[in-house]
Symmetry: none
Subunit: 504 residues, 2 copies
């Protein structure tokens, strides 16, 4: 026993060290995105490279492999200890299975590909990105081979962003979703009742008032500003070093007040997850937020399930009025609700509504599967992309920039990442459905701005459970069922019905 306890203690000490390095990197990256002066970029890259190299050295120390071997030979670990060993093994294997030269090659290629992608996008010319994309796909395949997989190469990539995710798990989820959502979107388009957006589009929305609105809402939801910050940045994100220092950002457009508010609620969802982690598991992988899908469930919950509900709109209307007394004159909660729920097929994923968003993801997922398997050639990709948009959403991009070149992910080598966005939507609906059973007055609470009970439910069932279970098991524990598209489909049907009077 003594041997195992000593090994476990030493493992935790080493993991703490690695975690602190990660916290430092988190702060530096936040600073780089939010307020670093422009000339500082080159030396910041050196600092970040140092942090990354130092973290990698500590993680790949053979001593960690030895400690894991010892700990994997005993059955006497409790669930938290087991989780720490499992997660440390996962991190250790990932860090040691890739040869150093291959990691370097990927990093160099990433820098190159981001440049050619930017240029291709700016010039609306896919051919500029073509070779680098082909190489990125090849590197992703090699990466999958280094990590290994049972069935499909693509599985090894999915697993990087959500532990245990495979094509055989995603396919049925996405099929069920598509079968139900596509007809809904079609019905809305045919219905043609676009809500009145003139009061939104014809007004100027001052940034300082948007900031105050976002801040009030984030605070009301339960984000603790004594343990975090709100700032502005070009690309909104939630970062920062640890649960006591959670920093999220948003961006503002004075012609559109919804982008910053719903972006803020999205990041607030990520932020409350980070702030809600179990503090007795500080520095331990078991205490960390779970995979990207679960993280996205928390952001989507507050952004969509709560933020675009009729009850929330009733509660938030006076806050809008306080911040925009002139613009909001004569606007009632029903109009606000209609406007924030505009369903409209569009070409750009990040601007898509709740109903069409997942169709954007499915397109990318189907394309990635084929690219990694070699069933789709890079030269055929742009047309394949446009064809799928026509098939899934009934629209076709007028150029490459609005089509296949819109996302940064592939230039960064992040194949397998997209599906977690849709998983987040499914998990959010499934979690809220489960929460409602214990919160019978949920709608009333939203109408009164009582967000505490819902946040507490998430704290207990999601945030405090950290990564003790794998994502799918966490969802099953919290909701009583394995991940499924049903709750989301029901939610979306109800919503479309009440918004557009369409019975699906």
């Amino acid at each position: 026993m003594r041997k195992y306890m000593d090994a476990y203690d030493e493992l935790l000490a080493r993991l703490k060290d690695i975690d602190l390095i990660g916290q430092i990197g988190g702060l530096m990256s936040w600073d780089q995105e939010v307020l670093m002066p422009p000339k500082a970029a080159a030396l910041r890259a050196e600092q970040l490279a140092w942090v990354s190299k130092t973290g990698h050295e500590r993680l790949t120390d053979p001593k960690i492999g030895e400690l894991l071997d010892v700990l994997e030979s005993t059955d006497n670990l409790d669930d938290i200890q087991s989780a720490n060993v499992r997660l440390a093994r996962e991190a250790y294997d990932r860090a040691t299975k890739l040869p150093t030269e291959f990691v370097e090659e990927m990093a160099k290629h990433r820098s190159r590909a981001q440049i050619s992608w930017s240029e291709a996008r700016a010039k609306d010319d896919f051919s500029i990105f073509r070779d680098d994309l082909a190489k990125a796909i090849d590197l992703a395949r090699q990466k999958a081979d280094y990590f290994g997989y049972d069935d499909l190469r693509y599985d090894a990539l999915l697993d990087l962003y959500e532990s245990g995710l495979t094509v055989s798990r995603v396919d049925p989820l996405f099929k069920g979703l598509r079968d139900n959502v596509a007809p809904l979107v079609k019905a809305v388009i045919e219905n043609g009742n676009r809500p009145d957006m003139s009061w939104v589009e014809n007004n100027n929305w001052e940034q300082s008032s948007q900031e105050s609105l976002s801040h009030s809402v984030a605070e009301a939801i339960g984000f603790d500003f004594d343990a975090g910050r709100r700032d502005a940045s070009t690309h909104p994100f939630c970062g920062g070093p640890n649960p006591d220092d959670v920093r999220w950002t948003t961006r503002y457009s004075e012609s559109d007040p919804f982008g910053s508010l719903y972006g803020s609620m999205h990041e607030t969802g990520h932020g409350t997850y980070e702030q809600g982690r179990r503090r007795d598991l500080d520095f331990q992988p078991a205490g960390k937020a779970n995979g990207l899908g679960v993280h996205e469930s928390q952001s989507r919950l507050w952004e969509n399930q709560v933020g675009r509900s009729r009850e929330f709109c009733e509660w938030v209307l006076p806050v809008w009025r306080e911040n925009f007394p002139n613009n909001m004159e004569g606007i009632d909660a029903e109009q606000l609700w209609q406007a924030v729920n505009l369903v409209e097929p569009s070409l750009i994923r990040v601007e898509a509504d709740e109903a069409t968003y997942n169709l954007h993801i499915m397109i990318r997922y189907e394309i990635e599967k084929k690219l990694i398997a070699g069933d789709l050639e890079v030269d055929d990709l742009p047309e394949a992309w446009d064809d799928m948009y026509e098939e899934f959403l009934g629209i076709r991009a007028p150029n490459r920039t609005l089509g296949v070149l819109q996302d940064i992910h592939w230039s960064m080598g992040a194949f397998g990442y997209f599906p977690t966005y849709t998983l987040g939507n499914l998990y959010a609906a499934q979690l809220l459905e489960a929460a409602r059973k214990e919160l019978p007055t949920h709608d009333e609470q939203m109408r009164n701005g009582e967000f505490g009970p819902l946040l507490s439910w998430m704290r207990k069932n999601v945030h405090q459970r950290g990564s003790i279970l794998e994502p799918a098991a966490l969802i099953e524990e919290a909701t009583g069922s394995p991940p499924s598209p049903d709750a989301f489909v029901t939610y979306l049907k109800d919503k479309i019905e009440s918004l557009y009077g369409i019975k699906a």
Copy 2:
């Protein structure tokens, strides 16, 4: 030769590693002071402790000692190489004399003490800071003992901030200054011709306009805002990771517009020094800014020698008018010059005028000597502080916040630091006296806002010389004479004469 070159290259590689760690710590400390959320303090302390411990481990690697031994055995080093070896030796010896656990303890205590100091200050309650201060003094004594000293424990601390500084060097210097300055201050008070301050005191000075004024002036002096930032913090300072990312802060009071402007010019002086370093010596100790006294000479130069000159006031008056059109109506350059040069004993060091400033330093110096020697108990400190203010300046603080709690230094464990402020005043006067010989139209240039020639002189004679020479030798190289109080005393006598018509 090959042996020395290899050793030198390896030494530089290791010094670069250590410097990067220092840059990371610099960013984290800036963040802690300027914008970190309050609850993040405890984990930030852990992060800083990690950085400090890691830096200490790398610096104390015996391999560095071996490399230094090799390099100290050859005469074939040029002046930069010699400086790097000399400075690395100094750092290595200082670091190896402190046990790792002690360094970690100091770092943790520093974070803790800064929090209790802030709270004590906010609540005007010395008792909140009392225990952490007592511990800080104890740690400073231990530190002095680890370093060793010939005569007094305090000497070991003075030496940390200005090489070779001892009580036996400071005592006569300060006595000479006090002998000259105290009668001047007395004469001004007895003279009773207080300049008209009603236009300052009877107006409200909006913060946003103060920010814009400070920013314009810093930019005019030559601070590069693409390689740095201006922010607000409780205790103004200049920090940040490196010459491409220099971050200074100031604080604002709407009843006093001078504090923020002159604070900004002070930090701008520090900032231009950092930005002006030789970039081919990045990551090398020889390229670093010299001791604190020299650093302070650059801040004092712009704050006082330039900023409080009649010519500068003539140039800056339109900038004032632009930012405060109503408040500045009917105010001329002469009135502005009189007001920014008000000589009046006051309680706050950082707001003190040029004539009384050094008396504030002398009080702290006398107190530190006693605290470190054990001749003054922490519980007696607040009263001792007030008594000395009564003795030196004829005034007494009405509360602790304006008294013993005003400075951040002791909470940071920076005992022995204060005297460098006065050295900075002396060096500033001496440097400007020398610069004037090469810049015969200096006064005219100031009147026209042509700050480039003076900044270039400082770049060439101070900034670009880094730490290649020791501080006293640098001053002698730049001015032709060893450090002396003469230029400062002459400058102050001239100024008092022209301001008050007092012949000293």
